[in-house]
Symmetry: C2
Subunit: 83 residues, 2 copies
């Protein structure tokens, strides 16, 4: 089973990397770009034997995200399960 964790900077946190991309896109001639935010997408392949209990799996993914994949002080995460 595949699970996806999308990690984004919280909206109140400045994103200098996104700002740099926004400016660079302007320089390259792309008009109308108002804002750019850059996040991470973590795609996790989970053994079927460990993926039978969807609620338990979601809880474990949330724990993984809190402990390792995201920095909860400045980042939010979103967990998606694909079957």
């Amino acid at each position: 089973m595949k699970a996806t964790v999308v990690v984004r900077l919280k909206s109140e946190v400045l994103d200098p990397q996104g700002d740099a991309v926004r400016r660079a896109l302007g320089t390259l001639g792309f008009e109308g770009v108002k804002d750019v935010r850059i996040g991470k997408i973590v795609e996790i392949e989970i053994d079927e034997a460990h993926a039978k209990d969807a609620a338990g799996l979601k809880a474990r993914l949330a724990k993984m995200s809190d402990e390792m994949l995201a920095n909860p002080v400045i980042e939010d995460y979103e967990i998606k399960l694909d079957s």
Copy 2:
């Protein structure tokens, strides 16, 4: 209008960052993680005046991705338009 570009390493390209995360999750006690791949998610806010023609906008986003957001040699990208 919001557009999202998801940039992933091509499947035939090794992902050392993802491998490191997979091993670290094992060390932290999370079982059943077979594979981890890490990509980028670029969220672009586009001025409504520049977003009227969806096909044209998608073509411009593809050009942005080819020229700047992704490295087409080792990465694939996927474009999504949210209204």
